[in-house]
């Protein structure tokens, strides 16, 4: 049996060794805020935090998480970034948005006043096909407003 700490709660699960974290979150625990868009670590939609570090959950095996605390978008619902994204219209279809906000939360935790270039560097791994990028940048630059 595997113990995972997710958004502050402890879950005991019986999982095959090849089960990626993203599928555990979505299918076994019903935490569908974490999206899977490519399933091979190219797009960032499945980003979660492991001890605060943005991690691609679709290519992270659940059994490798160990004691690290998993934070998903469900654990960030009260984060000011949510309001910043909605205020600036930093989402269109919204499928990449939870992953964007998870990545951005790690950035602003480490660097509360990032520059434009720092935002672009930190967020370049989160693809948005609708092209909400200018407003994602604005949301992160103004997240405390």
């Amino acid at each position: 049996m595997l113990e995972l700490t997710i958004n502050g709660g402890v879950h005991t699960l019986d999982l095959p060794v090849d089960r990626p974290l993203a599928y555990v979150l979505r299918e076994d625990l019903g935490l569908t805020g974490t999206k899977i868009a490519c399933g091979e670590g190219h797009c960032g939609a499945c980003t979660v935090l492991l001890d605060g570090i943005p991690t691609l959950s679709c290519i992270t095996l659940a059994h490798t998480v160990g004691e690290r605390e998993v934070t998903t978008i469900e654990g960030l619902r009260e984060h000011p970034l949510v309001d910043a994204f909605v205020r600036t219209d930093a989402l269109q279809c919204g499928f990449c948005t939870p992953g964007q906000i998870v990545s951005a939360s790690a950035l602003v935790a480490a660097n509360p006043s990032p520059t434009r270039d720092e935002v672009r560097h930190a967020m370049a791994g989160n693809l948005c096909r609708c092209g909400a990028y200018p407003k994602i940048e604005e949301a992160i630059l103004t997240w405390r407003d």
Binding site: G39, H42, R77
Partner: protein, 752 residues
């Protein structure tokens, strides 16, 4: 009263004549400019739901006992199945049902493109389904594929009759010209890559098929699947509350939906069939590649005397011939135009509509050619466009319902003027330049589209219509329109969409038609509700209806009386006010089009061929703007996709086998946040007075149309190189620079 009218219906440039039942649309348009709610920058009403991951997309639908399907797809562009062991698949662990080429029309034993469906399996998990398919061990007789579009035209392997347009006298136009330019342009195959892949979950409730699907076209999917299974149309209930992007690729049911429905029927359990990203990039549709051989002829003052083009579209095995010649036929005034369009049928995956299909490709060629012409004429490119402004539709002389392209040009001037300063910032190998391009496109929408609104005793309104929101902010725009008409705060309006069993017919989310089609229907329904509220108030307060109005959440009378809306609706108790509205017809004999112009600034490293887009200014004329915040997002998104089209995106096919090489989001390069330039959006925001009760046109597609040409023209301005093929990779650009140097050398060597 319902009226039956014969009308022209347009979706993405495809016109059909059809009978349509419409209702009276007697409402006057609101005056131009921002209103209390409409025209105000407005947050998405479903923004928090989406941002927090609470919104349930098709990908998130999990039903009890749900099985997972996988599809065996052809690994060859053209082949014949010699052997297939479906019994081994059936015997595999976790397998609940297997279907093969004889079981469903979308499965075949003679695949004609890579990814063509052959067999499918439903199993307890997706992994079990995939593992089972491995046991099918297909043996193939591999056949020679037809991959070259020009060869297909020669062999008459076409998906449609060649489409010819010939007006005036092209040859006389050529003869009358002082300058003639000719060039061949090429655009590449592009992939939509919405982040939610194409997928459906199907289950049967008795004789009803309940179908969750990621779609732009709830009603089209309903009819297509019902017909395939021999069901009455409402025997299929289509549900799509949230969907993760489409860009034109999700207009049809798709093989995955039919596979899921059939496997659900056979197993009696819910079945999910979801494309993987790699399947998505092979079989879910594409913007087809084009070859365009173009001619433009003009007198020395810039007046166009002839435009001509031969367009070859590499459509793949199936699809339709987009209006690639449309911009040449319509963007400028020119009496003599001759175009021919060929749609090549190839052993490549079928095309699908992709955000302004045809016009994106055709505008790249035409607008680059126009700049080559301007250079030969030594005329300012913006001035050349002004001199050839079309006052009416060149194809049939119809007047436009509204056209403010000259105003777009006027507003573009500020950005265009920057070119001197931008060029002056060239430094070392980095050359800078500015280019522009214009845009014309459809986007008028039309009937039919319907909305219902109900108001209960609490005075809150619910808009009900079975439309989908692909991410353009449809819920928000509809809530704004209803709130405006009812004179209530936005928060007092809910919008319930996304379920064919719970609301009336709505238009497809495509062809920039959602706001212009659905907006007037919602306003019409709100007006119906308002009328009823005022009738009730008149009786309650013993006043005449004509002295009453709804404003700021109150019923107000001309003599200064004011009662809260709840005071009136409170009389209802369990009763409800039900309003219905329909989209009225477009004016007959007129053409509804959208217009715009964009100015791009680029920096080009002439040593490495690197191109950086530094700034794009976009000015578009799409009638009344309902939500300026959402509108600017649409413009930015369109431009960013177009930058990918221009510089980095390309589906690469193996020229020998016809197999797709770019199947991942690593290989197929969509823009990232680091690729985005400064984007300046300006919207003319003048309501189209001929366009029913709202005056709004669509904005989803116009912004993606002129960007690639504006970038290529900026590169020419910066370097003198004519880039005629997309994407403008470093290799492509270095070739163009070399060609420009070669031409200069030959020019210098030639006798004066």
């Amino acid at each position: 009263m319902a009226r039956l009218i014969r009308t022209e219906k347009e979706v993405e440039g495809r016109f059909t004549e059809q009978w349509i039942v419409v209702e009276e649309d007697a409402l006057d348009q609101w005056p131009a400019g921002p209103r209390t709610v409409v025209g105000q920058p407005t947050r998405r009403v479903d923004g928090v739901e989406r941002a927090t991951g609470a919104a349930v997309y098709t990908a998130d639908v999990q039903l009890p006992g749900m099985l997972h399907a996988a599809v065996l797809r052809s690994p060859h562009a053209r082949a014949r199945l010699v052997r297939l062991d479906l019994d081994a698949v059936r015997a595999a662990p976790g397998v609940r049902a297997v279907i093969g080429p004889d079981d469903l029309d979308v499965l075949t034993s003679e695949p004609c493109y890579e990814g063509h469906g052959v067999a499918a399996v439903a199993a307890d998990s997706f992994e079990a389904a995939r593992a089972a398919l491995e046991l099918a061990a297909p043996e193939w007789e591999v056949l020679e594929p037809l991959l070259d579009p020009e060869e297909a035209v020669r062999r008459e392997s076409l998906l449609a009759e060649p489409r010819r347009h010939d007006r005036g006298d092209f040859d006389r136009g050529l003869a009358a010209a002082d300058v003639v330019v000719q060039a061949e342009y090429r655009t590449q195959t592009l992939l939509h890559n919405p982040l939610e892949t194409h997928q459906s979950v199907c289950h049967w409730e008795g004789d009803t098929l309940v179908l969750y699907t990621s779609t732009q076209n709830i009603w089209g999917v309903r009819d297509e699947v019902a017909d395939a299974f021999g069901l009455p149309h409402d025997g299929v209930r289509v549900i799509c509350r949230f969907m993760g992007g489409g860009f034109g690729a999700k207009n049809d049911a798709g093989d995955y939906t039919l596979v899921a429905a059939e496997l659900a029927r056979r197993t009696g359990r819910p079945v999910r069939c979801a494309l993987t990203r790699r399947e998505e990039n092979v079989v879910s549709g594409n913007r087809n590649a084009t070859i365009q051989r173009l001619t433009a002829a003009a007198r020395s003052d810039g007046t166009l005397t002839a435009l001509g083009g031969e367009f070859v579209s590499a459509l793949g095995w199936d699809g339709w011939l987009g209006p690639t010649a449309g911009p040449m036929q319509m963007l400028y005034a020119c009496a003599n135009v001759r175009t021919v369009e060929y749609g090549a049928k190839l052993n490549l995956p079928p095309m699908a509509a992709f955000r302004a299909p045809g016009f994106v490709e055709g505008t790249f060629g035409l607008e680059c050619l126009l700049d080559e012409l301007a250079a030969r004429l030594e005329l300012d490119p913006l001035e050349l466009r002004r001199r050839n402004h079309a006052d009416s539709d060149g194809t049939d002389d119809r007047p436009y319902t509204s056209k403010n392209l000259m105003e777009c040009y006027r507003r573009a001037e500020t950005h265009w003027e920057r070119r001197h300063e931008v060029r002056a910032r060239s430094e070392g190998p980095w050359k800078r330049g500015v280019g522009m391009a214009s845009q014309i496109w459809y986007g008028g929408g039309g009937p039919p589209s319907y909305a219902w609104i109900r108001v209960g005793s609490d005075g809150r309104a619910v808009v009900v219509t079975a439309m989908q929101d692909i991410g353009t902010g449809t819920r928000t725009a509809m809530a704004q329109i209803a709130a405006e008409e009812l004179g209530v705060p936005l928060e007092h309006v809910r919008v319930e969409i996304g379920d064919s069993a719970r609301g009336p017919y709505s238009v497809i989310s495509g062809g920039s038609s959602t706001t212009p089609s659905m907006g007037p229907a919602v306003r019409s329904a709100a007006a119906d509700v308002k009328r009823q509220i005022l009738e009730i108030a008149a009786q309650r307060f013993h006043l005449e209806e004509r002295v009453l109005d709804l404003k700021g959440g109150n019923v107000v009378s001309a003599d200064g009386g004011s009662w809260s809306l709840e005071e009136v609706t409170g009389l209802l108790e369990d009763a409800q006010i039900l309003g219905k509205g329909a989209r009225g017809p477009n004016p007959t004999g007129m053409r509804v089009m959208t217009f715009g112009a964009q100015v791009a600034e680029v920096a080009v490293d002439v040593e490495t061929g690197e191109v950086r887009v530094e700034r794009v200014a976009a000015i578009h004329d799409v009638g009344r703007i309902v939500n300026p915040l959402g509108a600017s997002s649409q413009v930015e998104g369109g431009i960013i996709q177009a930058i990918g089209h221009a510089l980095s995106e390309e589906r690469l096919d193996d020229p020998a086998t016809g197999l797709v090489l770019t199947q991942t989001l690593d290989a197929y390069k969509v823009p990232t946040i680091a690729d985005v330039p400064e984007i300046v959006t300006e919207l003319v925001d003048v309501p189209d007075e001929h366009l029913t009760n709202l005056g709004s046109k669509g904005l989803g597609e116009p912004p993606i149309i002129p960007t690639a040409a504006a970038i290529a023209n900026a590169i020419r301005d910066a370097t003198g190189a004519d880039v005629r093929s997309l994407p403008i990779t470093r290799e492509e650009l270095l070739h163009a620079l070399e060609a420009a140097r070669e031409q200069e050398r030959r020019g210098a060597a030639a006798p004066a």
